[in-house]
Symmetry: C2
Amino acid sequence: MLKFESDNKPKDDSVPASVPTDDDEPVGHRGDKRERILDAALELFNDRGFHGTPMPLVAEQAGVAAGTIYRYFESKEALVNALFHYWYSVLNRDLFDEDWAQRPLRERFHLHWERLANFAFTHPRAYAFLNLHFHSTYLDDESRAEIMRHWERGEAFFAEASEQQVTKNLPPEMLMLMIDGLFTGMFRSHVLGMVEMTPELIRAGEECAWATVRR
Amino acid sequence: MLKFESDNKPKDDSVPASVPTDDDEPVGHRGDKRERILDAALELFNDRGFHGTPMPLVAEQAGVAAGTIYRYFESKEALVNALFHYWYSVLNRDLFDEDWAQRPLRERFHLHWERLANFAFTHPRAYAFLNLHFHSTYLDDESRAEIMRHWERGEAFFAEASEQQVTKNLPPEMLMLMIDGLFTGMFRSHVLGMVEMTPELIRAGEECAWATVRR
DNA sequence: CTGGAATGAATGAATATTCATTCTGTGGCG
DNA sequence: CGCCACAGAATGAATATTCATTCATTCCAG
């Protein structure tokens, strides 16, 4: 029986080696330093917040000299945004594809729940990071665009469901955010070590979520 | 028809004038400076985070000199904690009383939802603040104790409901956090300006929430 | 007058960022 | 094979800010 770990064993939220150095970064390097920096930042920003983590600490955790970070990222802000934008785009890619868009409503809901769970529980720190920082003032346009992409799909789904009277007669945005919060609650019960998450529980969570919105 | 404001008109999250200066603060003062400082901090910490807000800015927003803050609070940390502990204790007082504890389960759920909504929508910044900061490293024992008080009641409720087979057969902690997230989602839909919250919608939210957990 | 309250410039500790220097690996050449 | 430039990568001490906190001074109510 597959189950996810809830303790502090290494979680796989590391940036896959294949991440294209986003664009104009130094070209000739073959090392994994960029990834190690992103990784360290992910963990530290989660634990201590953006303004609460000094760059030298990120450097130390990444096993890199302070100055090195600036070979890969313009600034501290560029670093959070690279992190945010990268993980959010992964999430969006994971959640939505052409196939998904043309399934029936209930199946879309199911698929979305499953995929979201898959993302959140295999990249717990990344998911926590996105949740914690989506409201921050230092996000740039690219990051915000990624949030928009996500929300537009969610709203469209619930608008459609509302029209077809599949879901309760409530503002779609409210339904969307309630489901999002519901999921985050489930996620938290796992991350806080209160519940050992299993595929069965995730499935049960989906039943709860559907009961929340169905007419 | 009562409705809550979602725009930027002044919200009433100010600390009531009667707040007893928590304990050992300077005694003889009659001014409202302490409250103005707490107020300014509440808003700024919400918008820019704890480490993201300089004390001089808090002072400016409070209409007070920088040094004055230190007549009322030992340090910046003491300030967040005063804020956190104060509002959390108000929340706890609002939610739970002797009467509440001996109502039937479903009624307790209803009352809790209503009271929580009342707190959150009359003190939106305070509620957002508590949500945003409950996980922070700089909370002191007193603040954490307030969190515990809250969670113990929640867990007890869902444990009892689970025993009596009123709710789904799932870990009580998971149910509790899902409901909490659900509420937060509803709250957010209002705060983000997507939904104009009304007592009817709040009631509808409760139905959703109950559908989530009932067997 | 006087003592507590308030002020805000000054202090010192952090912290983001820079940059002169060192390292490393690659390829040409004797 | 060994040696030698050389370029890009990495370093980390130094710099320039920013910021929490202090405290000598001023204000003001009684």
